[in-house]
Symmetry: C2
Subunit: 307 residues, 2 copies
């Protein structure tokens, strides 16, 4: 699994950073978290195929997280996309798409499954599954921004344990269907009457990789929940502590607040992003986060990060 | 006056061409025709200041001409824009902006004068003035596309004739207020009683430069009217003649049709743009147009063209 930030600036693009959008690339499919302006250009630059895009997860409707959606959706129609696409987002996204269809601004010719949340869903259900594919699932929780905002966690399902071929041969298990049953977790009886437990030849299930995406938000408990022991927490770090009051006022986090969330959650890696354009150099933000959480990296547009 | 195309691809961006948007730069102010995705990034790359942007003229609401508007409008608020902005566009643009304000996708903190046209305006008024500043005006006419589309003509007002200082001195006219009166077109009486006509020392008014912007459209009479004797006609040329049937079906023009419009209108220069992404090389389009109208150039993203 790898992460490719498409845009890492907050509010407005700069000459070096586009606005928020981040690709997570798995085997045979990938997902987009937020879809700021020019996301469809960045995906070409990253060498990704839009045909393999399986889901788009919008955190909130502020334009810097959202204005690239209309163009990307239409371009996939021009590209003759056939594959269904899941689109998850906050209240209003359906009304927006309906108006753009009526105005003929967008044209969508493939199956689009829209999952739009209302605030009410979240008073009733603290965490909600919003996407499922063969090997992955995504859950959402509301965060704490100026407007209704969703945070997401993508989890790869646990993979079966490794099959110990040498041990199976040493036990004299005949190759063939019995191997498959053991790999699938079943105990089997050999032709000579011995019973072999699956656990004798199959290792423990291997946990899947996981990623949490928390922007835009003040530091909050749901951020910690989403990031619990993830391989990578992508968290906004719009400001340094020097501007903590402004950060709180606008519903954002400072770099050290992002680091505190990563630390509380036991995340393995923190990727900070969504930098205010007042920081032409990300190093003060990175240094501040690393004081609290050494395993921090600063996002750069199109810089690939393998998990 | 100079022209800077921000995007020259039709429908979808490519790695070399953004979607439609074109800046026209005058003295102290500039104007944007269409506002496709990433226009706000291209304006930074072109070194233009958004504070000097005086008017945005949208032809129609297809996303490739329009999806960059929301981001640009909000970024100007973040940049503390104070100057009023004129926004001209087809029916629906006000409803779109209202929804985006309600969803908090955009935030506009400066005076925005929206001029939205209904089809009805155009049954009553063939040509309508949509913008006026000290030195320029813009008129609009409907074109012939799949949806309601406006073409535009920007005209610089005629400049006063040149004052012939040598001739004035030879005539013994005392420097000072009399010069101003003559320059302003008044005849004056000298202290010695001689009457001097303004035309004796001031040349004929110099015509202002002009530009027509016609996309997206089939070739049509209103395109010719807008382009009448302009210094530069910017006209779409989505296809070559080989695809004339498809071009007509989708409400577009071929390169030779664009050239025919330029020729009928007596334009001085034709700039073709809005190339289908099926043409990785613009040269067949340019060659086709030049067969009918030799003074043709092919637009490139960010290539400046002085008028």
């Amino acid at each position: 699994m790898k992460i490719i930030p498409f845009g890492t600036s907050s509010g407005r693009p700069t000459l070096n950073r586009h606005v928020s959008s981040l690709a997570v690339v798995g085997e045979g499919e990938w997902w987009l978290f937020d879809c700021g302006e020019a996301a469809q250009i960045q995906l070409m630059r990253a060498g990704l195929s839009a045909h393999k895009l399986a889901g788009i997860f919008i955190t909130h409707l502020h334009g810097d997280h959202f204005n690239g959606l209309a163009g990307l959706l239409s371009t996939m129609s021009l590209d003759q996309r056939q594959r269904p696409l899941t689109l998850v987002g906050p209240p209003g996204i359906g009304e927006y798409l309906n108006l753009l269809k009526r105005l003929r601004t967008i044209h969508i010719s493939y199956p689009l499954e829209l999952r739009e949340f209302s605030g009410r869903d979240f008073r009733e259900i603290a965490e909600q599954k919003v996407f499922e594919s063969t090997h992955h699932e995504v859950v959402a929780r509301p965060l704490d921004h100026r407007i209704f905002t969703l945070g997401y966690r993508l989890t790869e399902r646990p993979k079966p344990g490794r099959f110990d071929l040498e041990r199976a041969q040493a036990l004299g298990i005949p190759a063939g269907p019995l191997y498959s049953k053991l790999q699938a977790g079943e105990d089997v009886t050999l032709p000579d009457g011995r019973v072999i437990a699956s656990s004798e030849v199959v290792g423990p299930p291997r946990p899947g990789r996981s990623l949490a995406y928390c922007l835009d938000t003040r530091p909050c408990a749901n951020g910690v929940s989403l990031a619990r022991e993830v391989d990578c927490l992508v968290h906004e770090a719009t400001f340094t502590d020097e501007h903590a009051a402004e950060s709180d006022q606008y519903g954002h986090s400072t770099a050290s607040q992002a680091a505190a969330i990563a630390s509380q959650a036991g995340a393995k890696l923190l990727l900070i992003t969504h930098f205010s354009s007042r920081y032409p150099d990300y190093r003060p933000l990175l240094a501040e986060a690393r004081r609290h959480f050494p395993e921090t990296r600063a996002a750069e547009d199109l810089l690939e990060l393998a998990l």
